[in-house]
Amino acid sequence: MTLRGLWRRRWLSLALLVVAAVTVAAASLGPLYAQAARAAVLRDALDTAPPDHRGWRVTSVRGDAADLARRVSAPYLRPPVPGAELLSPDPRGKKTYPLMWQEGQCGHVTLLRGRCPRSAMEIMVTRASGFRVGADVKLTSITTREDGEERLVPLRVVGIYRADPGDPFWFGRNLFPQTAGVSEGNGDPLLTVPETQARSGLPTGASAADAAAGNAWTGYAIVYTDPRVIGGGDLAGLESAHARLAGMGRSGDAVTVFTHMDDTLTRIRRQTDSLSVPVTLVTLQLVALGWLLLFLTVRDLVAARAPETALARLRGLSTARVWAFGLSEPVVLLLAALPLGLAAAWAVAARLAGEFLRADVPVTLDGPTALYGPAAVAGGLLAAAAAAWSAITRPVVEQWRRTPRARRRTWIPEAVVLALTGVGLVELLAGGPISGSAGQNTGALLAPGLLAVAFALLARRLLPLACAALFRLTRSHGGIAPFLAVRQIARGSATGSTVIVLGAGLGLAVFAVAAWSVTSRNFAEVARVHNGAETVFVVRAGDAATLRRVSAGIPGSAPVVRMPGPPVMLATDPARFAAVALWRPSYAGGRALEDLTPRLTAPVAPRVPLIGDRIRARLAVGDIPHGWTIVLFASVRVPGQDRPSVLPLARPEHGRMVYEWGLPPACRTGTCELRGLRVQSTPTGTSDFEHPPGDLGVVGLDVRRDGRWAALDAGLTDRARWRPAVAGQAGLVLSMSPWAGAAGGAGAAVPATFPDPLPALTSGTPGNRKLPGLDDAFASGYVPAVPAAAVPGLDAAGGVVDIELADRAAYGYSDKAEFEIWAAPSRAGAVLAGLRAAGVPVLATRTTAGLRTGYASEGPGLALILLVVAAGAAALLALGRAVLALYAAARRRTLELAALEAAGARAGPLRRSLLIEQAVTLTWAGLTGVLAGVTAARVALPRVPEFAEPPLTPALAYTIVPGPVVLVAAAALAACLVAAAATAELLLRGVRVERLREAPA
């Protein structure tokens, strides 16, 4: 009978089934997707982390390290890779070799000659070690006692191997110094087999000190996480495993644990937390809206069965039976909706995961996530019970007589909602950005949804009042259509739920669209600023001149050297930068970049190049009292170095004029540069401080090249070429007094080949901070020649400087310097072709589109996608439900319409009346939704994280993008009006005078 009943009310049943299934799906989708996204975050983080950031190396000099490591097991932890190591010098004490074995080592080396060791005392070595196959290698720690005498045991070389130091198998250790050419007493590993350890005779149970001294083996085990099997719910387990493993290292000196897993876990936790907040926000609000829709739809279904329920009570069925009978259909539908909703959630989550997450992330419906669906159904059951309460407890006679019931205290739940909204708003406005999904933040998280409902509740109250105010007007104007319409709306019963549902649903949809558009704009803006240009090619490090030359040959490109900060420094060709960088005049008070970049250059003195093998100084040495030792140092920039070479150019003596010193070897073939002269005065015990040394005049400088001395154009007589201005007719005059500064002199001077501080296009306030410089020496300050709100290429405070000046200010290039070629918009292909033609290999390419995609793949971005998808579905449901409710309410009035028609009212005014009524209701609800969504967006968006790591620059904008909001609102209103017209027409066609005969007594 239940199934027959469902079929009889098939459209209403279908509506309830869809609403329930969507509610279950909405409740499950967020957790399912979040779980998959967490898995993706975990796997990405572990995949891209260096070996020591995604595993542990447990070492023990006493116990079995592998046994220790096995105590912590989890499906996502690979089995420990055991190994052991003995640090031992060779007998001559020239080098210390790690004699080691690691399980599986033969699979991770390339054998160049020979074979892998198989027996005790066999080893394989690297080519850089210089040992040959068949040679015997002796280490001081591998000995045997024969005839009471300690003898070294030879280790036979059976193979020569090459290993990839980047192979995670070696746990990122710097094990191969000889191969890398940086050996300083350390040799490459001598790889052997465990039997060698057993036969070495070295004691176990030694201390860490013994191991360090080469008197004991150190056992170790490497444990890696397995990103292929780790799931979104494993983060807590991984943290626990890390805590246990790391805890072993703190238990005593016998066990040490090497890992940087803390950093990785912190990064993962930050990402997953940033995912949790918006997902919780989305899920809670959608489920709340789903329950509201469920309540209303179940109420409709129960109301449709009210005559049958009354019949059951008339026949004397017990209360329990009446409840069972009344709820049987909603319960069947809710139970059927559970698997449907879960399946839909799984399908959508899988689709979203396939679209936005890595391919190998499974979407699994495990225990905790599967509970959300039943929880939503349980909410639906409560809604069903609440909805059925009125129909089931209403006296049968009232049901038949259609007696209006006494007004219920509906203001109580409304007051609760408004109070909760207030609390949520206070939380939201008083707190900073939301970072966690638990505790007191919950109220704030619910604020957007509550705000939408609160607006809808208020609008529902206001609409009848507004219509009541029009009573007098419609009595005398407009005919019967508006007269009937405003009275019907003023009754409130038919329009209340429509305004609430549509207002709340559309409010949420508008909030979602506003959030999406604002966040997308921020993604685009941050990507623009952080990338600097539409496409950035990272090229092999070199020098500024080469980079400029390459760029000069490629139209639409700019050379940029990036130094990480803080503060971040970009060194570039200002003119080319202006032509290529993504700039907005609003960044700097409406000015074009072309007008600003000329300020980055400054008049400077020519450089003082040094090419040769010796440097000579001609000095005018003043009086040097007894007891003072004076040294004149020259600072020289040397190619290939990032620090200056300081040459003790002269130890001036009174009466002697000429001094010379050797230049660094690199200056013979490359161009060195004189970067400064400095006098160092050292007093001795007999120094006379009352009479310090006088001035030292640097009259001339010469460089010897190919055996010939040539005068150096150092501008020693030009005040403008040295800083401070101590140059003059007598040459460069430096004070030899230790109190030179106090006496107005200077003990040091540098060629004024660059301004200090450097003029920069700055983002943020420099204060007294120094720029890192190309040599990462943080030697030069910078001054905002042009302060800007945002600067292309800067993801933190810093400045853009002229690459020529930056090069002059630096002593060389740090390893941290990243050499880039920026491409102008739509010039990426041509620039790439130009780079290839110039023979410049491209190491990496960064695009603004790629950065945007990256942001969208972070936790908040992923959650936002979820919000838009789910809120769109919810809004459609709300619209459908609103139209259904209007239809149902109006249908109940067909009797009145039939009576009006019987009384002589024509169909036209009746049609207009219905249309006006429905259009006013739907438009009012739509406008309420738009207002609620926009307000919620304005209040909540600044507090909801958009990036896993909030950008320091540019400042994020939260002004709502009107286009999408207007589009959604217009589409919703248009859909409402079409639906209103259709339902009005349908209803009027069903109005027949014969219907009056069906009226109850």
């Binding site: 079929w7 019949l311 008339l314 004397g316 017990s318």
Partner: protein, 272 residues
């Protein structure tokens, strides 16, 4: 005061007031009525007189606002909701106006009977097949009730009302939407199968078929008819409702002189 053992219904000064948001409506006032076991009573009166209200009171769906009502010896005012449910399930069968309202339209005829029997023990139930055969619906027992004709629906409604062997059968306009033949069949059914029955009707054929008629006007019992003869009923305070056919002689609002006789009084228009 208790109900006589052989009375199926006893009303003693029953008053029924409906309360809505703004107003109170007195639907019945000072109803004194006794229906003996086996009696069949037709409730007559104009629309809005209170016939259906009295029927709902007799069905235990309302509690009297004042006065006392006994159904089969049980005083309705003293029964709890559960006891009232049991009373309705086991002792009262109700046929409502508009046959469709008695039925679950998507359930079959047999399912409708079974639905009504859910509330009573198995032994109290009349076998559904036998019942449907008795009302001539065997051939349509599996057809959804909504698809039956008006006459079939009304017969099914009577069958459902009788499904639990009730002591009292209540029917509201059981022939209002039926043609003459179907109406006659339904009346015969009620008379034949019904134990004690109270039928609200405007149909003279139905009232003639009943052993007694009770006419209600303005919430009061105005007249009773027995054996083809109509009597006015003297109310608790001596009130008498003149039948409408005498309103021409004594219009409402006119003055009348009461002249006593040995076995009654005569009313004469004042001034004559």
């Amino acid at each position: 005061m208790t109900a006589p053992a052989n009375a199926a219904v006893r009303c003693d000064g029953v008053v029924q007031i409906y309360k809505t948001r703004e107003i109170e409506v007195v639907a019945l006032r000072d109803i004194d009525l006794v229906v003996e076991d086996g009696e069949s009573v037709a409730l007559l009166g104009p629309s809005g007189a209170g016939k259906s209200t009295l029927l709902w009171l007799l069905a235990g769906l309302l509690r009297p606002s004042a006065g006392r009502l006994w159904l089969g010896g049980a005083e309705v005012g003293r029964l709890g909701p559960r006891a009232l449910d049991r009373l309705r399930a086991a002792q009262i069968g109700v046929v409502m106006q508009n046959p469709a309202r008695n039925l679950i339209p998507y359930a079959s005829a047999a399912q409708n009977v079974a639905f009504a029997q859910r509330a009573v023990r198995r032994r109290a139930r009349r076998p559904a097949g036998e019942l449907l055969e008795r009302v001539g619906l065997t051939s349509v027992r599996d057809r959804p009730a909504g698809l039956l004709s008006g006459g079939e629906q009304q017969r099914l409604a009577v069958a459902i009302a009788l499904a639990n062997r009730p002591r009292l059968l209540l029917a509201d306009e059981p022939t209002s939407q039926l043609d003459a033949e179907s109406g006659r069949a339904v009346v015969e059914l009620i008379k034949e199968m019904g134990p004690t029955s109270v039928v609200v009707t405007h149909d003279p054929r139905v009232s003639e078929a009943m052993s007694r008629t009770v006419t209600i006007r303005d919430g009061r019992i105005g007249a009773e008819g027995r054996d083809g003869e109509d009597f006015v009923v003297i109310g608790r305070e001596g009130a008498v409702q003149l039948p409408p056919e005498y309103h021409e002689l004594l219009p409402p609002g006119s003055m009348a002189r009461v002249e006593p006789l040995r076995d009654g009084v005569i009313l004469r228009r004042a001034g004559e």
